[in-house]
Amino acid sequence: MVNEASRGSAPVVGSSIPSAGRHWGRTFWQRAAPVVYGLIAGGVLLLVMGKNPIAFYWTTLESGLLTWSGLMQTIIRLAPLLLMSAGFIVAFQAGLWNIGGDGQFLLAAAVVAGLGAPALGVMPFWLVLPLLCVVGFLVGGAWTVVPSLMKAYYGMNEIITTLMMAFIGINLANILIKGPFLSHVTLVPQTDVIPWVYLLPFIPGTHIHVGIVIALVALVLVHFMQTRTSYGLRLRILGASPRAALHAGISVKRDIVTAFALSGGLIGLAAAVEVLGVWGYVRADWNPAFGMTLFAIVFLAGLDVLVVIPFVFFFAVIQIGGHEAARQAGLPNDFLLLLIGLILFFMVLTEWARTRGWLARLRGRHAGSMAAAAEEAAGDG
């Protein structure tokens, strides 16, 4: 099974006793370098296309970070991204490659949006919001049950099943939106709109909804779970070696199911927060497709919350500021995809170079040395 197989490359966080403190500053800078290289590569590309990279990046920064409204938008975007990342962290921790995040996200979004307006009719909104968040969590979690059961009981590889469930989920979301949840006010297929004033409240003095707070709290909890609880250790053993987990008396089946559900739940919560914080509705065929990129980012951040946050923040800035930059440079927005792709490549590359360099200092280049190269890489993702 892939999760077992890729143990070699699956990052193992804090494989030592938790209390051993981590100077994350160092780790962070080690990991920030590739981003810079990626940007440089993107810059070269821009030059080739006769655009001005400095201007491009400056505009990105300006409209994604340096202006108040841009910063607000970035932070608002951060909420769902961080929650989704938290979901991936939990799954990867347990060696579960939940690659169907987008399906869980969209289905949860559709259900939350679909129930939103009706719910407001029957109960006070201060009750509706938390309730819908729970709904999102449950739907997202529920969408992992089939894959997790099949993995737990038949050893069915979860990459296939989550992929398939993602396809089903995305279509199902559309069916719901065009069926039971179809709004009769607008003619575009979409859900009824939750009145703007009833969406998640703003953090006082800003237009940033409280989703970001929820996200940060969730991340802290996940981090605590990872490093300070028996459950976290069980998941880590499961992720490192399912057979060892079984041998140690860990009820592997239960933990696979719970970890998977928790992962999907957080992703569903991400959807709820995005819908209840920004949109108030979901239209058919809407798919922000955060999943894939976050999957990679979380992995490259070594499942380390303290590294995930800055990475995701950076990603959000590019997402938010990039449009304006692309517009001013007269480029299609899809250039941003290319940019992100390049950055990922460079993250991978420098991670490799680092491990090699680390080794080179110890003992030149030769067959055997590759061994610990991979070991080291495995060590810190």
């Binding site: 143990r7 193992v12 494989s15 030592s16 006793i17 938790p18 209390s19 051993a20 490093t227 300070r228 609880t229 028996s230 459950y231 976290g232 250790l233 069980r234 880590r236 053993i237 490192a240 070696s241 057979r243 060892a244 079984l246 041998h247 140690a248 008396g249 860990i250 009820s251 080794l359 110890l362 003992r363 030149g364 030769h366 067959a367 055997g368 061994a371 610990a372 495995a378 060590g379």
Partner: protein, 536 residues
């Protein structure tokens, strides 16, 4: 093919292989430190040394797995550079690795054809012939169509050797080939080796069992901490008596410890080793198996049929049998790693049927697995965490699910000291320890926190004399208190005779009989085994 056996230019004892100043460094370890080694054609050259001495590394350098940092290799007097396994094979160096390198779901034939085929099409025909010729020369029987995963370890071992000889090796390296074999398997192997010697091959033979070394070897070299301690040549070996030889070797392996180790080495008279002589006054029954039936899993041999056993306090019940005759399923069923298809297991009177692995653990039922790296430890995790990995979530290490690092650390420090585990620190990833020390960690974990019954599955295979002694002492020490009992599964008859009070013989998943240890036990057991082999 034929070339295999008509190889080697020059006089009968011409030097085939010459290693000069081989040095290989791993992070933090000098695995080999300027090692020189001479190997002659037609000799079996034994390589001895404690765990982590660097034997496998040296051989892997020869087989092209590692590039040496320093040193030179000469074959037939020509200086050669071996940068990958292909080079080694082309130079006629064949190696049977310490850890099996067969593909379980490939047939024997497919395994043999790997990387051997000329041209595009797979030519099963030619492979068939080659296999037939080899099996006849070696006097072994292998079913070419069988999935290797389905073969017993002994047969797998033979396939590995055939694979190593496949392209006509001049130098054959066997890295601990006997660690998993039964006396019978070892005899077969010895016969095969003699065959090969006759045909002029040079064999490098790594083992931890001195007796084998002396029986099979023409010369013995000893490695210690990566350095060559010395080589004992033919003449000395002929001249010296077994006991003298042992002193010599042990002195080389563990300078200054020969005395302390003398009494444990296998060579001394069995009766001295505790086992046999002990008065058989066993305490009350601790673990009872009633008609236990276990089903084999997909692609696995050895199921267990209706076995009933009782382990009393203060006794070691040995389980003898050719590997792959149901030992592992039995052990796993007892500790709860696989379901009982029938029957019942009772610990101190209470049935375990409903209890999970963890629950049985806490009730004092422990399992020292034979799959150390596969399931025994989590290589990427610290020694400390591995020492509590079967206690997750329970006090005092966890309180309300919250980890208490300081308690875990203290516990680890204590065990590491008590079991003298050689590790840089308790935070070191367990996977980076040497084989012997990994086993110490496992034993420490299982024997800590008041065990009642411990199931030992091949507890000493692949361990050096010293660690073996330590582990065996632990096993006896456990039961001699009279409070606990042990089930000792082993393919090593000497070990069984040395440690057990009674020995049950397992064959094809059935219980052939139970022999009380003592004079003549060896013959009885042997008889029961043969019976099992030839039964129906």
């Amino acid at each position: 093919m034929g070339s295999a056996f008509s190889s080697g230019s020059g006089s009968p004892d011409a030097v085939v292989l010459e290693l000069r100043g081989i040095t290989k460094v791993f992070p933090g370890v000098r695995a080999n430190d300027h090692v020189d080694l001479l190997v002659r054609r037609g000799e079996v050259h034994c390589l001895l040394g404690e765990n982590g001495a660097g034997k496998s590394t040296l051989m892997n350098v020869l087989a092209g797995i590692y590039m040496p940092d320093e040193g030179s290799i000469r074959i037939d007097g020509r200086e050669v550079s071996i940068s990958c396994p292909r080079d080694a094979i082309d130079l006629g160096v064949g190696m049977v690795h310490q850890h099996s390198s067969l593909i379980p779901d490939f047939t024997v034939l497919e395994n043999l054809m790997l990387g051997r085929g000329e041209g595009w099409r797979l030519s099963t025909g030619r492979a068939q012939d080659g296999l037939k010729r080899l099996t006849t020369t070696l006097g072994v029987a292998v079913d070419p169509g069988a999935e290797t995963g389905q073969l017993s370890l002994g047969q797998q071992q033979q396939v590995e050797i055939i694979k190593a000889l496949w392209q006509g090796s001049r130098i054959l390296i066997l890295d601990e080939p006997t660690s998993m074999l039964t006396p019978k398997g070892i005899e077969d192997l010895e016969r095969v080796l003699r065959q090969l010697k006759q045909q002029g091959l040079a064999v490098i033979f790594i083992t931890h069992k001195l007796r084998e070394a002396f029986a099979i070897g023409d010369r013995v070299s000893v490695l210690r901490q990566g350095r060559l301690q010395g080589t004992i040549d033919r003449e000395t070996m002929k001249a010296a008596s077994a006991t003298e030889m042992q002193r010599l070797v042990v002195e080389l392996m563990f300078p200054g410890e020969a005395e302390t180790l003398a009494h444990v080495a296998e060579l001394s008279d069995l009766s001295e080793l505790g086992g046999g002589g002990r008065a058989a006054t066993a305490g009350e029954p601790l673990l009872e198996l009633h008609e236990v039936v276990v089903a084999g899993q997909r692609g696995e041999i050895g199921i267990v049929e209706a076995i009933s056993l009782t382990i009393h306090a203060g006794e070691v019940l040995g389980v003898a049998g050719v590997d792959g005759n149901g030992q592992r399923p039995l052990a796993e069923a007892i500790v709860g790693q696989r379901p009982l298809a029938g029957g019942d297991v009772r610990l101190a009177g209470t049935s375990l049927r409903r209890l999970g692995i963890g629950a049985r653990q806490r009730r004092g039922l422990r399992y020292v697995t034979d799959d150390r790296l596969g399931e025994g430890i989590v290589g990427s995790m610290s020694v400390a965490l591995n020492l509590v990995s079967k206690r997750i979530g329970t006090a005092p290490f966890w309180v309300h699910g919250r980890t208490r690092p300081e308690v875990i650390a203290a516990h680890a420090e204590e065990l590491v000291r008590e079991y003298s585990v050689a590790t840089p620190s308790i935070h070191t990833p367990a996977g980076s320890l040497s084989g012997g020390n990994i086993q110490k960690v496992i034993v420490a974990r299982e024997l800590s926190l008041d065990p009642k019954v411990v199931v030992f599955n091949k507890p000493t295979y692949g361990l050096d004399v010293k660690t073996t002694a330590a582990v065996r002492a632990r096993i006896r020490g456990l039961v001699d208190g009279g409070a606990a009992g042990a089930l000792l599964i082993s393919t090593d008859l000497e070990e069984l005779l040395a440690l057990s009070d009674r020995v049950a013989v397992l064959s094809r998943g059935r219980l052939m009989g139970i022999v009380r240890n003592g004079p003549g036990a060896e013959q009885e057991i042997g008889a029961l085994m043969i019976g099992g082999e030839h039964g129906e």
